[in-house]
């Protein structure tokens, strides 16, 4: 929230400023209108053909099914392991009971509180299944098994929410209504959730937003892979079918290239928006806590980085597509091009699972090839300020401009060379 709102304000201001400059400084020019018209024509064809294509329909349906499964299955699993009884080790104050009750209400559960004489007794009851969690001296939440990173069931969400709320309550108490109250509250920390049985080494202190950011990262990776393949194959098809000469007799290469990436970009954004809207609607309908806490901002961040990631990679793949014209040449290009994406994706998932953002993750969040995967995870952790988010986005945009220029040069020089695969050194010789 703290960085999304300023970011949106800046984008709106920049758009208004640009519009004002266009209307006051430069009069509309027939030639530039014509150029834009050509880009629009190419873009419209691309959008029409993609929407009409079977591949788009099948992949959209497939992703929707996967998303639905990812939302519904944890909820169904969560229904069998609902926390009904919470043990209290130490004093059971009215404030504590209220915090537990409100946390349970947030995820649609009702709880029964029981007093535990000691931590050992609580562990024993957890092991026997008599209680589902225990609060130890208002300082920790004890559960039997560690929470899986992707577990967004109501039971798991309850534990996370409870830990977060107890942390906030503790911060309030610590503040003691003194003059430093505000400062203390802003530094509230979620209490650690400790499991009796050792987990896989991962911290179980995952917030709900981290689960959302993991899903977002997976979606970004899947979608970018798909859209980049569209770009690569689309450019290659134009070259291999030889329609390129007919097209370039009427429009400039840069118009053709821009129209194609914009067209596929629009289709990509439409598909992503559909999937996200579907995911949000479904999670609300089935009572999933996908949108708990600051998760909506993670969703927005995911969409922003999907757009930025597509903007960066689409030019790279378009340039690569212009250098090949046969299916067998695709394989030799796809792997090296995918490596930065795969690296960023793995680092993002590893970082999300570690429970706290590493320095490497923070560095990768500022590198355009890996930022689309790592920055949403940092947002999920709440470990990035709004200005850092904007700086990373600005770096990505600047690099995208440079990459686009380079790609346009490669495209223009390679797209008409037929036969064997065009090498980069041939392009720049």
């Amino acid at each position: 929230m703290k960085f999304i709102v300023p970011a949106l304000v800046l984008i709106v201001l920049a758009a208004r400023l640009r519009r004002r400059r266009r209307t006051t400084v430069r009069a509309p020019h027939a030639k530039s209108d014509r150029l834009r018209g050509d880009v629009t024509l190419v873009m419209a064809r691309e959008v029409r053909e993609r929407f009409r294509g079977r591949v788009f329909k099948v992949t959209t349906l497939f992703v929707l099914l996967v998303v639905a499964a990812a939302i519904i299955i944890p909820v169904l699993r969560g229904g069998k392991t609902k926390i009904e009884t919470i043990g209290i080790v130490g004093a059971s104050t009215s404030a504590l009971r209220a915090t537990v009750a409100s946390s349970a209400a947030t995820v649609g559960l009702s709880v029964h509180l029981v007093s535990e004489s000691s931590i050992d007794a609580a562990k024993s009851d957890l092991g026997a299944g008599r209680i589902n969690a225990a609060i130890v001296n208002n300082r920790a939440v004890l559960i039997q098994s560690s929470l899986a990173p992707t577990d967004i069931s109501s039971g798991a969400q309850f534990v996370r929410t409870l830990a977060e709320n107890l942390g906030i309550a503790k911060a309030f108490r610590d503040a003691n209504l003194s003059s430093s109250q505000y400062e203390t509250i802003t530094h509230a920390r979620t209490l650690p959730i400790t499991s009796v049985q050792p987990g896989s080494g991962r911290s179980s202190g995952r917030s709900p937003t981290q689960g959302t950011s993991v899903i977002g990262t997976v979606l970004i990776f899947v979608m970018l892979s798909q859209y980049n393949t569209w770009i690569l194959m689309g450019v290659m098809e134009v070259k291999s079918s030889r329609v390129i000469e007919v097209l370039l007799s009427a429009v400039r290469p840069i118009q053709l290239l821009t129209g194609k990436v914009l067209g596929i970009g629009i289709v990509a954004l439409a598909q992503a928006s559909l999937i996200v809207a579907f995911a949000l609607a479904l999670s609300k309908a089935v009572g999933s806590n996908l949108l708990h806490g600051s998760a909506p901002f993670v969703v927005v961040s995911t969409l922003v980085w999907l757009v930025l990631g597509y903007s960066f990679y689409c030019w790279v793949y378009a340039a690569a597509g212009s250098m090949i014209e046969r299916q067998d040449q695709v394989q030799s290009l796809v792997l090296p091009l995918s490596l930065p994406m795969i690296f960023g994706y793995i680092m993002a998932l590893t970082g999300a699972s570690s429970g706290s953002p590493s320095l490497l993750l923070k560095v990768l969040a500022f590198l355009p090839p890996t930022a689309p995967f790592t920055m949403p995870v940092l947002v999920g952790f709440g470990a990035v300020t709004w200005w850092a988010f904007l700086v990373s986005a600005a770096i990505s945009v600047l690099c995208t401009v440079g990459i686009a220029r380079l790609a346009a040069t490669v495209y223009r020089r390679a797209i008409l060379r037929t036969g064997s695969r065009v090498r980069l050194r041939e392009v720049f010789n």
Partner: protein
């Protein structure tokens, strides 16, 4: 056409060997030259594709662009559409350097046919028409008109890949014609077509030229070129070898005479005659190439003395002969 200025221009030709080599590159400009290519050069590594190539093409003419494989025809055509970089040279249209706006008014049929295979024929043509500046309504109308004209009216909703080779070729031609181009550049438009397809394309090209369009097309089917074209340009190794009107070229150069004498199967009656070259003796016909100094009446008298002359004809050179001589 064919006025005093034209005669003077033709008279300014110089000859080289047995073929006509025009030193005046504006020989084809019998009417106002429209397309001018001047001093085009292009090198691909060690290979010279264009070597200071210059020629002009006038509006309202169908001009055949000939040359052996690798002569530089396709490179020249691609250069007109800025599809290949030139090392040097200029290309102008009606006196001004060709730019993108002008190219949009040209029509192009590349050597390697290219259309979106899975796109519907009608939609594809409309799309290409709009890229050439037609409004959606005009593009739709032009698409219908040309599909009808080329016998493909019932295939508008078919995918291009479902059409036969010949019909794909017709769609490709329609794509080049949709927007009413001022200049039509066709690279091997007759390749792979059956006789009816060739007739259709021939009719269309003649029609376009009559309407004032400047048509330049390449082909290896020289008989068809001779039938379709008023003028030809022949290049070899990237430079101009021959250019001119087909009629002029066929009748220019050394005179070619065929003589048949009843009962005479050899050319021994010509022994000792200076200034002639016997190019062929077959079936009683003796083919001669006469030097400019030789009077044909001398040959006729000599033939009469030998026997009864049953054939004495000045022969017109076929384009295929011209071509072979030009690129020999």
């Amino acid at each position: 056409m064919g006025g005093v200025g034209d005669v003077e221009r033709r008279q300014s030709l110089t000859y080289d060997h047995r073929i006509t080599r025009f030193q005046d590159p504006s020989i084809l400009g019998l009417v106002a030259p429209a397309l001018q290519l001047e001093d085009l050069s292009r090198r691909f590594g060690e290979r010279v594709a264009l070597d200071h190539l210059s020629f002009e093409v006038a509006a309202g003419q169908v001009v055949g662009f000939l040359g052996p494989n690798g002569a530089g025809k396709t490179t020249t055509m691609r250069a007109i559409f800025d599809l290949t970089d030139l090392d040097s040279g200029t290309i102008t249209w009606s006196g001004t350097a060709v730019d993108q706006a002008q190219r949009r008014r040209f029509g192009y049929m590349p050597e390697e046919r290219g259309l979106y295979p899975s796109m519907l024929v009608g939609e594809q043509l409309q799309y290409l028409g709009k890229l050439h500046g037609l409004s959606p309504r005009v593009a739709a109308s032009a698409t219908a008109t040309w599909l009808e004209r080329l016998g493909l009216a019932d295939r508008a909703d078919s995918k291009v890949e479902s059409l036969s080779h010949g019909n794909q070729q017709r769609v490709q031609l329609a794509a080049a014609l949709l927007h009413g181009p001022e200049l039509l550049i066709l690279d091997e438009p007759l390749a792979g077509l059956d006789p009816s397809g060739i007739d259709v394309i021939g009719d269309v090209l003649a029609e376009q030229a009559r309407a004032g369009c400047c048509v330049l097309f390449s082909s290896h089917q020289l008989d068809q070129v001779e039938d379709l074209c008023e003028s030809v340009v022949i290049i070899d190794h990237g430079h101009l070898v021959v250019a001119g009107r087909v009629d002029d070229l066929a009748t220019s150069g050394p005179r070619r005479l065929v003589v048949r004498i009843e009962g005479e199967r050899s050319a021994s009656w010509l022994d000792g005659v200076a200034g002639i070259e016997i190019s062929e003796v077959r079936g009683g016909d003796v083919r001669l190439v006469l030097d400019a100094t030789v009077d044909s009446n001398t040959i006729l008298e000599l033939a009469r003395k030998t026997g009864r002359v049953t054939k004495f004809v000045f022969e017109r050179r076929r384009l295929s002969e011209l071509f072979r001589e030009a690129v020999a």
